[in-house]
């Protein structure tokens, strides 16, 4: 990590944002035709599209659960979404994010209503400038709602972090590279429960408290944006 560039100056960040500001957001529901539901989310330069298929029959059959459906996620970066072209297909990192995304979204879906079925959420990152898993999840949650899947609340995600020993919200690419901590979370904005939580970097409980607080407030703003997008489709 290069730390030569000053990331904070008089409480302002390199793009002029304050400590607790999100980047500019854009959200849209129903962006695809073939999928049962779809969503688009952008946060600064990071953007993702998500498609939902299902509930539909799970194959192979021996993976079906008699009591409840399952929700499966695929998270993928387009080859041209990053500086140096990425080999097609999910990397190890992408597989892991697919798994935690399943944990984040499963908690909000009434899976017991769909025994033996699967709900598939496919998330594609088109441009990656930090916060990709959060932006992808935000698109995925819109897509689930757009597909009419019954849910306990909308899942909204954003990351807090630490740069130059200061907790801040929603790191962009350069901040992420020069940053000390990355703390992506997803939250059920209706229940206040955190359904995705990852953290890398060195920190302590006081800072965690501050960062979580920032991230939770961020998720609430994200939820507002998601809800607006969904309203437009009705």
């Amino acid at each position: 990590m290069k730390k030569d560039k000053k990331l904070l100056k008089n409480g302002k960040r390199i793009d002029g944002r304050g400590i607790g500001d999100l980047r500019e957001m854009e959200a849209e529901a129903g962006v695809l035709e073939r999928a049962d539901g779809s969503g688009y989310f952008r946060m600064g330069d990071t953007e993702a599209i998500a498609a939902v298929f299902g509930p539909r029959e799970l194959h192979p059959k021996h993976k079906q659960k008699p009591q409840r459906g399952i929700l499966q996620c695929r998270y993928n970066l387009a080859p041209f979404s990053v500086e140096d072209r990425k080999r097609p297909g999910p990397s190890r990192r992408a597989k892991e994010i697919g798994k935690v995304a399943e944990g984040a979204l499963s908690s909000t879906v009434f899976l017991e209503e769909f025994p033996t079925a699967t709900i598939d959420v496919y998330m594609e990152v088109i441009t990656a400038d930090a916060g990709t898993r959060c932006v992808a999840l935000n698109a995925g949650a819109i897509a689930l709602a757009d597909a009419g899947i019954p849910m306990k609340g909308i899942i909204s995600a954003c990351a807090a972090g630490k740069i130059e020993d200061t907790p801040v919200l929603d790191l962009k690419g350069e901040e992420d590279q020069g940053g000390q901590v990355d703390l992506p979370i997803a939250m059920n904005a209706d229940t206040g429960e955190v359904t995705l939580l990852q953290m890398d970097g060195m920190t302590n409980i006081e800072e965690m408290d501050e960062m979580l607080e920032l991230a939770i407030k961020g998720c609430e703003k994200v939820a507002k944006k998601q809800r607006e997008a969904l309203m437009k489709t009705f």
């Binding site: 035709e33 073939r34 539909r56 080859p79 041209f80």
Partner: protein, 257 residues
């Protein structure tokens, strides 16, 4: 008893016999063609193409690589296509299958054979370092005619692309200059249904096709052909098809130039 798809296919067929189409287009009409550029900000060039409900993003990235031994002074073109599970309930995750491979290779040949790219100018150090031009086709929504949409997106993304500077052994993505494209290869797929030809087939129409030919034209030359699907064509039919495609690609080319 026929299922819904079969009934739809039958309707599409009946319409075409009468010179009509399900969505009221003329037989040789394309659906609305929308082309947007700059859609993938980390790509050196990108374009999103919509043909009705079909939606394709193409991104171009440049990278540095070692040339092929038999062309030590030429840059390299690589075209890849992903038919990811997002685009259709019938696509599966996994490595590219036959369809994705054919799609990528037909687009690749259109660009390569037309000599659209100045490959000699992409040589940095003979035998050691040349630019790789990496064209990735990402299918977002699949309602037929991926070939024409992808070829158009690839041409547009290349036209829009800016090539980074290479200084002190590093690719400097913050500094870019224009990337010259010599020719603009454009593909048009002509589909035979019974004794009629249609263009820009929807998914349903692809299923009832008796055969298709994807024809790639530059401004003045035919540079690639690919017959697809079952069925056959007489020589006279083929010569007609090349002309139909020529007229249509002239029109499509205007959209992206």
């Amino acid at each position: 008893m026929m299922d819904i798809t079969e009934i739809e296919e039958q309707s599409a067929l009946d319409k075409i016999k009468k010179g009509e189409r399900l969505d009221d287009r003329g037989l040789e009409d394309f659906r609305d063609v929308e082309v947007e550029t700059g859609v993938a900000k980390k790509a050196e060039g990108s374009a999103e193409v919509r043909l009705g409900d079909t939606k394709v993003i193409v991104g171009v990235k440049f990278g540095m690589g070692e040339p092929f031994p038999d062309t030590p002074d030429e840059g390299m073109l690589m075209v890849n296509a992903e038919l990811g599970p997002m685009a259709s309930p019938n696509f599966e995750s996994g490595p590219p299958g036959k369809d994705a491979t054919e799609l990528a290779r037909v687009v690749d040949r259109g660009i390569r054979e037309s000599e659209a790219l100045p490959l000699k100018e992409l040589c940095v150090e003979e035998g050691e370092k040349v630019w790789k031009v990496m064209v990735d086709i990402h299918i977002l929504d699949y309602d037929g005619n991926l070939m024409d949409a992808s070829a158009l997106g690839a041409a547009k993304a290349l036209i829009e692309a800016e090539i980074p500077e290479y200084e002190d052994g590093e690719v400097k993505r913050e500094k870019t200059k224009e990337f010259p494209v010599n020719k603009v290869p454009v593909a048009c797929t002509v589909v035979k249904v019974g004794d009629k030809y249609i263009l820009d087939p929807s998914l349903i129409e692809e299923k009832i096709a008796d055969g298709m030919v994807t024809v790639t034209w530059t401004e003045d030359e035919l540079c690639s052909l690919q017959k697809r699907g079952n069925g056959g064509f007489t020589k006279d039919e083929l010569l007609d098809i090349f002309e139909i495609a020529r007229k249509k690609t002239d029109g499509l080319r205007k959209i992206i130039e």
